[in-house]
């Protein structure tokens, strides 16, 4: 196995616009808020050929921003993203077609005024992957591969259900013949029964096409189901990364533990107790992350050391990477 997609010390900041007026106000002694939101901080990871890496975390943890950087949609502020050694972007613009994205909301990610056949075909045609004459045949093939009737090519998105639309979005991404597929919360907006259909489709296609995948989701059970390895993010950093089976069976980082404990389980034997254990406290503002370990204000194991020093992400004996002083 070799790494096909890598992130090297990737950081992404979103800085507020500081106007001339703000600067003058600053000179006059007024407090001007110039704190940048650091959505992703110093993340390094590798996605191996053929594997699925799950990226999991709560909202605002930076998983989507990281995903967009890895997909070549958003340039990193620092560090580098490489797809087989080369950057997927030139300046602010994506150049490669070898990595494609499936977005969260299929209602929003398909242009309502364009027939779905044209939506699927326009990328391949514009990059010369298919001729205009051969496009209908290619569209028909992809529609049937994602489980839709090829005759639907002339329909508009609003004529489909949510699950069918997500199938179209998957067909659009795969018609570009990518090596890597980034799925950004692809089932978050779908109902449970439809979610199962899309997950099954994803598993099928991944196997048939030998795809390498980055699978981003806030849903721990979904990530567990599809991923070989999993990375857990908290406040812009990876706190734990390793084989999915190991991380889920024996989480080391207190945040991973807390997160897994927070999820309500199906209670098949009455519910006198609670099937979950909440993490105390709230996510700190990303504008002013706490010093030391970002999780320390909510962590049951936090000590003076955690408040002072940020733990590095280090490998443990079984290969799992953990960023914690006490794990």
């Amino acid at each position: 196995m070799s790494a096909i997609l890598t992130a090297e010390h990737v950081t992404r900041r979103f800085s507020p616009r500081v106007t001339l007026g703000d600067r003058i106000a600053g000179l006059l002694g007024a407090k001007v808020d110039r704190r940048a939101v650091q959505a992703v901080t110093d993340v390094s990871l590798q996605v191996q050929q053929g594997e699925t890496l799950g990226l999991v975390g709560e909202s605002g943890c930076g998983k989507s921003t990281l995903g967009r950087m890895l997909a070549g949609i958003l340039p990193p502020s620092e560090g580098a993203v490489r797809l087989s050694g080369a950057s997927p972007m030139r300046g602010k613009h994506k150049t490669t077609t070898r990595i494609q994205t499936v977005f969260q909301d299929p209602n929003a990610s398909l242009n309502p005024r364009i027939r779905i056949g044209d939506t699927i075909a326009e990328g391949p045609i514009s990059h010369g992957l298919v001729t205009r004459a051969n496009a209908p045949a290619m569209v028909a093939e992809w529609l049937s591969r994602v489980g839709l009737d090829p005759a639907f090519a002339t329909r508009f998105p609003h004529q489909f259900s949510g699950g069918q639309r997500q199938r179209v979005a998957i067909a659009r991404a795969l018609a570009m013949q990518p090596e890597v597929l980034v799925c950004d919360e692809p089932v978050a907006s779908l109902d449970v029964s439809i979610q199962a259909q899309i997950l099954n489709l994803f598993l099928d296609l991944r196997q048939q096409l030998g795809l390498t995948c980055l699978f981003i989701s806030h849903d721990l059970s979904v990530v567990r189901h599809v991923s070989d390895r999993v990375a857990v993010m908290y406040l812009g950093r990876i706190v734990e990364m390793g084989e999915a089976a190991k991380v889920y069976a024996a989480p080391r980082h207190p945040y991973t533990q807390g997160l897994l404990d927070s999820v309500p389980k199906l209670m098949l034997g009455g519910n006198e107790g609670l099937s979950f254990k909440p993490i105390s406290g709230e996510l700190p503002s990303p504008l002013s992350p706490p010093p030391g370990c970002a999780f320390n204000p909510r962590c049951p194991k936090a000590t003076e050391l955690c408040r002072r020093e940020r733990p590095p992400l280090t490998a443990r004996e079984d290969g799992t990477l953990v960023a914690c002083h006490h794990a």
């Binding site: 949609i73 990610s109 309502p112 514009s126």
Partner: protein, 290 residues
């Protein structure tokens, strides 16, 4: 008719007032278009005018045998003919100014939304500044500086109105720009031109159509106002506004028809266009859909 369009028409038809308004607009446009064939008299041909026929009330039979159904004006023009020709000028001005303003404004707005950064800031500052500055004042000053005539008038109207289109196009385009399907198009990646013209621009059209309708009505009203103030077209080509202005001085003496009939024609036209625009606005507004 495509299914989407026919569904749109189905919904439009439910509001009978809007249907009537649309019919009125169509009739007025047709009347203006065929004015030379409908009008009993060519009001621009000064040879036709006789002072003996001036300021006659509706129904007056002129010296040359015409029945002046709506009366005559101070120069002895048949008012019905003058109104038809005046509508022609008003519509020409309104549509020409609206079309030019739509084109310039949309291009500027979409450019600002697409380019971002300094270009965006520069264009939108200018547009905002102009929007806060009343159109009529701008038009007044421009006409005063450029002189009278069709071209100066259109320039004045366009300058006064393009900013509305630019603001609308910019608003719609920035909203579109943030939508997932635009990001999906960029992530493919599709060329920037294709993203703008195939994905962003078509989705900006509904609000622009609404603003376009309303702005044609506004341009007509503005032209009439300028003409009323004596700053519009030369008196040899009387637009509706000027007909009204000319009749103003006779109003106190009871010869109200000289002002009132052109005024009614003007108002019917503008109201009808605005009613159509209102209905389109309601139909395009996704928040009020059920």
């Amino acid at each position: 008719m495509s299914p989407a369009l026919s569904a749109f028409w189905q919904e439009y038809r439910e509001n009978w007032i809007a249907v009537v308004a649309l019919a009125v607009v169509a009739i007025i446009v047709a009347a203006a278009l065929f004015a030379p064939w409908i009008a009993p008299q060519d009001p621009y041909d000064l040879a036709n005018l006789e002072l003996a026929n001036a300021r006659r009330p509706p129904g007056f039979v002129g010296s040359d045998g015409y029945v002046h159904w709506l009366g005559t004006d101070a120069q002895g023009r048949d008012l019905f003919s003058a109104i038809l020709y005046g509508l022609r000028i008003s519509l020409q001005m309104g549509i020409a100014a609206g079309a030019v303003a739509l084109t310039i404004g949309t291009l500027l707005g979409v450019l600002a939304a697409h380019a971002g950064g300094k270009v965006e800031a520069g264009i939108m500052r200018l547009v905002d500044l102009q929007l806060s500055f009343p159109a009529i004042l701008l038009a007044l000053v421009l006409v005063a500086v450029l002189g009278q005539g069709r071209v100066p008038l259109i320039i004045a109207l366009v300058t006064a109105q393009y900013a509305y289109f630019a603001r609308t196009a910019y608003g719609a385009a920035t909203a579109e720009r943030q939508k997932d399907y635009v990001e999906a198009a960029r992530a493919t990646p599709l060329p920037g031109r294709r993203v703008v013209f195939r994905h962003i621009l078509p989705n900006c059209l509904p609000p622009l159509i609404v603003v376009g309708t309303v702005q044609v009505a506004n341009a007509i009203a503005l032209e009439a106002t300028l003409s009323f103030l004596g700053l519009g077209l030369p008196p040899t080509e009387p637009s509706l506004g000027m007909l009204i202005a000319n009749g103003f001085q006779y109003m106190m003496s009871g010869r109200t028809w000289i002002s009132v009939y052109p005024g009614i024609a003007l108002i019917v036209l503008i109201v009808a266009i605005n009613v159509v625009g209102d209905q389109l606005r309601d139909q395009f507004n996704p928040r009020l859909r059920r």
